[in-house]
């Protein structure tokens, strides 16, 4: 597209605002204050990597009725002006005397009654992306209006993806699919892991990623120690299992899945682990339906792994996916969140292959009434081997 602010038609954004306003009415909210990159993008389509700079706060206020309002640093006026956002108010940031505090206060007061309740995401998986001190000042200055927890409002709406969103996530997944298909081009025994990570990112860009927000992985005999470390310089060795995982981004939408490869001939341990992981996700692909809760997926995955004779690892076994690398819910024994039609999710079981060694496997899906649909190409049932 010529203009990234036109990723969606205006109707997509208006639909989001209406769904938020319907929930706000139920919950007695007079406005919703959003500060994170993802939430601001969700309402406005404002997409920039400038969030990488912590210098300036950005705000979107969704009133109980009517159009949302962007309250942003003037450096963003040009880009926000190209979005559908009907009202954009700016200040010259950074301003050490008043970095948007007065403008935000004014905006909130103008949009809500004197005793207004203003939702702010305060729950799990949320952060306030503005200085805490300024938040306190705004809270004081809007009184007797008050800030209350708006997490459920934004999460219940954002978690249901429109078909336009599913299409974009599918597109990003396809970039990673094509990249994983090319892994044998740049992986070989003897190659240092950090060079593998570098070539993996390069290939993702070549295949169409706008940027690569997340790459992780690991390599080791029959498994790896953890899945969040940056790559070291140790060379790949025959007998290693290599895992590559990516959250690439196109049009603001993430993929998040991984693939495993044996370097040289796969060991029996690694083959069995891969089969168990494959079988566990297969079970969920067959049985998952809307109305189940997040912990049901965890149970299904655990059962699939143990039925296959594997030892499940700890941690969560998948999560939501969309405009951040991970979204709620979490496939853990504790998360009772209902799984709803239109959710985009990852299935990410892990097994222990040896003391301190694990293998993990991940697929991206969308949940429909009749079950899940894969958004990425299914991993092969047999652990692929790289002979080079």
């Amino acid at each position: 597209m010529a203009d990234r602010s036109l990723i969606f038609a205006e109707a997509e954004f208006r639909g989001r605002v209406h769904r938020l306003q319907a929930r706000m009415a139920e919950e007695g909210l007079h406005a919703l204050l959003l500060t994170s990159a993802a939430d601001v993008f969700y309402i406005s389509g404002f997409l920039t990597r400038f969030w990488e700079s912590p210098a300036r706060p950005w705000f979107v206020v969704v009133p109980a009725a009517g159009d949302p309002v962007a309250v942003i640093p003037s450096i963003g006026a040009e880009l926000m002006g190209r979005t559908w956002m009907p009202i954009v108010r700016t200040w010259d940031a950074p301003d050490p005397r008043d970095d948007g505090v007065s403008l935000l206060t004014e905006t909130l007061c103008a949009l809500t009654p004197t005793n207004g309740r203003i939702g702010v995401p305060m729950g799990l998986e949320t952060h306030l992306r503005m200085p805490l001190g300024d938040y306190g000042t705004v809270a004081t200055r809007i009184a007797p209006r008050s800030f209350i927890d708006g997490t459920a409002t934004i999460q219940r709406v954002r978690e249901i993806k429109s078909e336009a969103e599913v299409g974009l996530i599918r597109e990003t997944c396809a970039i990673a699919d094509r990249t994983f298909a090319r892994v044998p081009e740049f992986v070989a025994a003897g190659k240092p892991l950090d060079e593998v990570f570098r070539d993996f990112q390069i290939t993702l860009l070549q295949e169409g990623a706008d940027w690569v927000s997340y790459v992780a992985g690991g390599a080791g005999q029959d498994g790896y120690g953890d899945v969040i470390s940056p790559a070291g310089q140790q060379p790949l060795a025959k007998g290693d299992v290599l895992m590559l995982d990516t959250g690439a981004v196109r049009n603001g939408y993430f993929c998040d899945f991984d693939r495993n490869y044996a370097i040289g001939r796969a060991s029996d341990v690694a083959k069995r682990a891969h089969h168990a992981l494959f079988r566990a996700t297969e079970t969920v692909l067959e049985r998952l339906r809307p109305g189940m809760v997040a912990s049901d997926v965890h149970s299904l995955l655990i059962k699939g792994l143990t039925d296959a004779g594997a030892t499940p690892s700890g941690g969560r076994f998948g999560h939501g996916l969309g405009i951040t690398l991970t979204e709620w819910p979490s496939f853990t024994p504790l998360d009772q969140a209902p799984l709803r039609e239109g959710m985009v999710l990852t299935l990410e079981p892990g097994v222990v292959t040896a003391p301190g060694r694990i293998m993990v496997h991940e697929e991206d899906i969308v949940l429909y009434a009749d079950g899940p649909q894969l958004l990425c190409r299914r991993t092969p049932a047999d652990l692929p081997e790289i002979h080079a």
Copy 2:
């Protein structure tokens, strides 16, 4: 390096902690609670792209004396265990019942007296990276201990870079230098801007970036509309000025500078603007000394631009740089922060070239007692032309 936790010797981290503790003593703080990726990395060396997932909070607590304590999700135990951090406490996150709240509360209470004052960064350029609701719960449970603003404590320490840090920033700048030298390889009239951005990122990776956290730029006749938009598909045209700006990362340290190129023959407007930008930064390179304040740099840049007959643009004209893309202070008329020996800074003046069009130019420097030293290769005085 084989292990990214060994970017620095332990003495580097211990020095940081001691400097923080000296400031904490001055400011009457009994502990400092840090939650952001940059602050956690600064204390521990814990470097991972996993921060891209908003699911889990991570904490480092620096007591008034003694060793810092990491309080983190167990998924990070392996990686944190490879850092120097002497005490690592973990919980199984995400836990919807108690996502680290009790463990953090306990840790803070054990490390501080009953009436303890615990610093939390609350000021400009800071964010609390934990759910606001959980922060409120911890605040209640540590009472009569209290959270107070710890911004100055962390910022006055972080803003002075050690020679080891300067060396790493120089290394990242060199990656961008080599990449900018290769721009003529992948830029030509007719090429869509989004393909240029993609090749720019690929080249940064090829030249040694671990990842590319920030790319921005613009292209247009005699200048560009803004400097934070993602690239569209419009092709480069003869007469365009192309600007590419990057915050690439190696070993956790950023560069942040840009370069301008004329596509085909440079227009007189663009040439004059580039000369004015060059001359303005030249003035600062000659005159900047510790003891000046941030607004002095803004004044020098404005004077340099107007002396050269150019019209300065608005906004800030540079900032700190290090483990985030931008750090304090800001080169604006309002920022009175003292400039100190050891600060790493960017000079980033902008000029208006036509209505709605600007050109910006950026250099990275370290400030020493006898003046600044460039960390990147100086931009050529004459706007480079790309004839292809």
